[in-house]
Symmetry: C2
Subunit: 284 residues, 2 copies
């Protein structure tokens, strides 16, 4: 029986949506003033529970299974990395950044709740991601500390935020595949690397296995962006190099996934093939 | 020999400045592109190493000593809470928030580095605070997890960020001392509570002691704001109530500090008396 990729993605997305809904903050029962100051809690839900594709939670779950764990162990890591992704979209959409009024067919957070609140919503989601990791009593303290460390590293100045700053600073000056790939690695690869590492840590994997899956996530994230580059007219001069790198990264991601065996590694291998097929479909 | 408060504050501030300088991020040696994308690392230093009073690190150090620890054990917690404070100032100063062009006699981060970078600098500082806690190998994993949990709780939606949203939402409608005190507790008390708890955790204190010092920090933070209220013309209707609460909080903070004995509790007691004296000096 072959692996049903679409059913796996749909089912894992529902699992992630449930896990997120359980872990978002609730009103304080003892508040003297307004129960939801500035509708901050409402806006956090608006930003997160909005039908995102949940690709990062799906990667966390698949990496956990590859490393021999139960999916449920990866729930906190899956939610934490998704909150980081969600906050980055809220801040990216701000007038001073990309100035987007709509996302997934809805007004962006700053349009719906005001710009000051959108800044605070992003800050609250980012902070809450670490609260979720620290609160996951299913994992022992060493695994929780490792989770915080790996997420902070890939989300911060040497990861996602650094990649955003580099992208802003360089813009059209990204004229070499090496430079483009470095921005992809930081801006997109970082959170996928964190997602895969969080899944591996949750499975109780040894350091070498965590590192192997973290590398898988980084390569997957870069491949994901190259698939976009292949159809992006602005990247036309780099399109051929992007297609070549996409094929290389697909091969190494599938090989790493298959090294965990057909059953455990199946979901990860299918995810890698799906991204590459997406690039091929749009590219030609 | 009486406790020399000014010397203690000056010496502990130097210690905190050194600890911060050691823990701020550095350039990646292997960057393909610009070594400091968008001057993000430079801007993080600009925001943090700017002559702040370091009150939160001083509280973390004093709480650690009160709980029987060595000051150095509190260094990571002291830095983490100060980075949270620093990021909150960067975001507060943004045009969509308080729109401040100057802070401590220097252009604010968004004036000096641009608004998009200021948003990212805040995000990077917030993320880095948790990286610092996770990396503190001087503490065992359980203490590091407890540190992440307490900082995330007081910095997030039910702490500092929630207080900022409540303050924005309520503004002039804060017409009762109970409501004013709830905003103070979240917005200012939260980080002082985190600072004191981080110091206690670093000392290896038991849960009851951590809770007692966390409460000290919360009360101290509220007292700190009431001292401001006492001289704030806009708070004139609440000034008498604020002065009364300031005196009550001073008494309870000094009593808690003294319960740790004259030597260990001395710095905490002196800090509490200093805040109250500040309120009395301006108030009358």
């Amino acid at each position: 029986m072959s692996f049903d990729f679409d059913a796996f993605v749909a089912e894992t997305k529902r699992w992630a949506d449930d896990a997120l809904a359980q872990r978002l903050p609730r009103d304080k029962a003892d508040a003297v003033g307004a129960a939801d100051p500035g509708r901050l809690i409402e806006a956090m839900g608006y930003a997160v529970l909005d039908g995102g594709k949940r690709m990062r939670p799906i990667v966390a779950a698949a990496a956990c299974v590859a490393a021999g764990g139960e999916r449920e162990a990866a729930a906190a890591g899956a939610c934490a990395v998704e909150l980081i992704h969600a906050y980055s979209l809220v801040h990216d959409d701000l007038p001073a950044m990309d100035d987007d009024a709509e996302r997934r067919g809805k007004p962006t957070v700053h349009v719906a709740f005001g710009e000051a609140n959108a800044i605070l919503v992003g800050d609250a989601l980012l902070t809450h991601a670490f609260a979720i990791l620290a609160a996951e009593t299913r994992l022992d303290p060493a695994a929780r500390v490792a989770s915080v460390a790996v997420l902070a590293r890939h989300a911060g100045v040497h990861g996602m935020v650094g990649g955003q700053a580099r992208d802003l600073a360089l813009g059209q000056a990204i004229d070499r595949i090496e430079l483009l790939e470095e921005v992809h690695a930081e801006k997109t690869g970082g959170l996928y690397a964190a997602a895969a590492a969080l899944g591996a840590i949750a499975a109780g994997a040894d350091e070498a296995t965590v590192a192997r899956l973290e590398r898988w996530g980084l390569d997957f994230g870069i491949a994901f962006q190259h698939a976009d580059d292949v159809l992006d007219d602005e990247q036309e001069p780099l399109r051929e190099a992007a297609a070549r790198r996409l094929a290389e990264l697909e091969e190494s991601c599938v090989a790493t996934a298959e090294s965990f065996g057909p059953e455990r590694g199946g979901p990860l291998a299918a995810i890698a093939r799906w991204v590459a097929a997406r690039g091929r479909a749009v590219g030609g």
